[in-house]
Structures are given as C-alpha cells and as structure tokens.
Amino acid sequence: MSEKNVKVLEIVCDVTELEDLSLDSSLDIEEWDSLAIVSFLSEVDNNFEQVLSPTDVNNAKIVADLAALIS
C-alpha cells in the first residue's frame, strides 16, 4: 500500500473511531457523518496541504475513492 493510502486509511479510522477499515470499506456507514467529514477535510489539509471539495468527498463510496482525490 502506498504511503498516501496508508495515511488516508489512518485518518478515516481516526475520524470514524473504527479500527478495522480497509481501502475497500464502504463509506455508507453511520460513523461517516458530517462531523467525521469535516474532521477528514481538516486532517487531509494538515497532512497533504490540500483542501478537498466537500462534493467530491460526499460522492466517495469507499475509502479508496477518498485516497484518489488526493494528488
């Protein structure tokens, strides 16, 4: 797994407080709520200095889709 993917997965686990996620995990879960999404945007900016579009983040179906948004 690339460093970027490792980091994104770590962030998603952190903001959802779930431990057993993978890149293929669905984001159609209760824990992926508005607070988790805002926290995700914040951590992506902190770690990758990139401000993602909330629309793109909302359209992501699985964790890998989020990683793909980061250049």
Partner: protein, 340 residues
C-alpha cells in the same frame, strides 16, 4: 482593499443574555455524540435570549455601557450603523429604532447592514469610512439572536449558535494610526449557510422566516481556501509582519476551525483569541464578544490588532488597526428584569 486615516476605535463593549443553555443537558439523550460535538465545536454552553428580547436590546445595552464609560453623550453621535441578520423588524430599519432609544439627534445617518460572520469587519469598514471622511463620532452596533432561527432538534446548529450584541465607538483623530481593510465576497457559496424557504416557520417576530441550515463541510472548505490568503493580504497591505501584530481575533466559528486556522496561518498561539465556550458562535458579534470575553479575564494590552471575519454570504474581510487607544469593557450580561 481600503486604507483609512484619522480613525480611532475609542471603545468596544459586548452584551450577552443572562440565560445559559447547556448542550449536555439539551442533548442528554445521546451522551457519546454530544461529547464529540462539544470537543469539536468548543461549545459546552452558550447564551440565548428569551422570546421577548431582541437583537437591538442586546446592542442597546452594550451601547449604553460603552457611552457611559467613554463619557460620550448620545447627541454627540453623527451616525449609527447596525449590522445584523436578525433585525427586530423586516421594516423599519432597526437602526432607526435604536436612534430613538439611544436619544441621538435627528440629523444623523442611521442604517442597517445585513451581514453575519463577516459583519463586524465590514461594518467597521463602513463606520471607519464615515469617520475618515469627516464625521466626528460614529457608533457601530453588531449583534444577532440566531437562537430564534435554529431548529431545537438540529444538533449541527443548535449546539453552536449563541446570542449577543456589541457596540463600538469610533472617533475622528488627525493623528490616529492607519487602518487597513481587505474584503471578499463569493455568492456562489450562498447556499452553504442559509435560511431556506419552505422550512417550518419559527416565531421570529415580524419576519417571515425558516430555520437556519448550514453545510459545515462547505463552510470549512471555504474557510481553508480563503482565510490564509486573506491574512497574508492584510499583512501585505499594512506593511506589517506577524511579529508586529499583538493580537489576532478571528470570527469565533467553532473551536476546531479556529485551531486549524491558527496552525495553517502560522500564528503564535499566545496572540490568538479562542473564546467560544460559554457564549457560542455569536455570528457578527463574535469578534467583539471574544475581545470583551478575553478582557474579562485579563487586560488586553494590544497595539496592532488583526480582525478577521468570514462566513455567511459567502463573505470575508480583515482589518489591521491600532488598539492602543481603545477602551475594552469586560463582557456584560443583559438581564431582562433590569431592562424592562
């Protein structure tokens, strides 16, 4: 951008309602979630008005406290600018009502500006422009009673917004240090914070309305995109470095956003005010409320200060100005029984 001479901010006062609303008590049905929300927003409690108290009441209270401390008479004031998105009436302008309540002269300019989170900085720009161009004394009143517009069950807004009113007095002074203003607007983001039609109508007196809805992620992304550059631009036009600025006061949107901006803008934490718990996000009044809240705890000894407002509109602005001649009153509490 606008560079203004001959204006001094003589004083700032802020008033909050006596009623304290606890988020833990309000949303006690789901302890786990509410603790996460409190940790993110920084708001465990905020101040909200009763049904009868209007935005003008809070602003009037702040104004009377400030005029008394400054030794200003209301009939010396040449203009009153009232900034709010929860005015007392759809019409007439609330500034006209306040002119009368304060006891100002009738040969004065009084006008309402409808802005929220950026309202203090933009209101200051308008008021400062009037003074810079010859009016001797101007009062800027900025306040909101957003609690009247949030649905009780909407945790994204109910936990966050508090009510407040503020007063800022500005005076013409030939030797005053220069003020530097930067402004921005992007209406393509207008839906990010909105009162949408066809929502259940609360009893906001005189105004047909709906409930406030906010897209937190869109607002967060907007802030990250716009505010660091705004801070940079304000420093650039003022010719100042961060080291020259004693105090940074941002719109108190929520604690997570403030901490993120602090880091992203590389501002020394000891110069950055975070004063949101106990009062909530008070919209346009949040900057003066934060300043007065801080003053309640210890004397603010600031010379050059940067104020940064951003939010609903989408609208944003910053000002670098001198506070060394500014009287800052500790936060005042508006008590209904004392003001009946």
């Amino acid at each position: 951008m606008l560079v203004l001479e001959n204006v001094v901010v003589k004083g700032i006062a802020s008033s909050v309602p006596e009623n304290v609303e606890s988020n833990r008590e309000q949303f006690a049905f789901n302890d786990g979630d509410i603790e996460k929300i409190i940790a993110s927003t920084g708001v465990s409690e905020k101040r909200v008005t009763d049904y009868e108290t209007e935005t003008s009441d809070l602003c009037l209270h702040a104004a009377q406290c400030l005029l008394n401390e400054l030794g200003w008479r209301a009939d010396e004031i040449d203009a009153l600018i009232f900034v709010s998105q929860t005015p007392d009436y759809q019409l007439p302008a609330t500034s006209c009502v306040l002119q009368n309540k304060l006891g100002m002269r009738t040969d004065t300019l009084c006008l309402d500006i409808s802005l929220g989170c950026s309202g203090y900085v933009h209101g200051l720009q308008v008021a400062s422009s009037l003074v810079s161009n010859g009016l001797k004394k101007v009062i800027l009143l900025v306040g909101d009673t957003i609690s009247k517009l949030v649905a009780p069950s909407d945790r994204s807004t109910r936990v966050l917004f508090g009510d407040a009113g503020s007063a800022t007095c500005l005076e013409y002074e030939a030797a005053a240090k220069t003020s530097y203003f930067v402004s921005g607007t992007d209406g393509s983001g207008s839906q990010a914070i909105m009162i949408k039609p066809n929502m259940p109508t609360p009893k906001a007196r005189g105004v047909v309305s709906g409930n406030l809805v906010m897209d937190g992620a869109e607002v967060f992304a907007f802030t990250l995109k716009r505010i660091p550059n705004l801070v940079k631009k304000a420093l650039e036009i003022s010719g100042k470095e961060k080291d020259d600025i004693d105090l940074f006061v941002f719109h108190q949107a929520n604690e997570m956003m403030l901490k993120h901006l602090l880091k992203k803008c590389h501002i020394p934490p000891e110069k950055f005010i975070v004063e949101i718990d106990g009062v909530g996000n008070t919209s346009g009044a949040s900057i003066p409320v934060a300043i007065c809240s801080k003053q309640t705890k210890h004397d603010i000894a600031a010379k050059y200060t940067m104020l940064v407002g951003f939010g609903v509109g989408l609208s944003w602005g910053a000002v670098v100005l001198d506070f060394s001649g500014t009287l800052i009153l500790p936060l005042k509490i508006y008590r209904v029984a004392e003001n009946a």
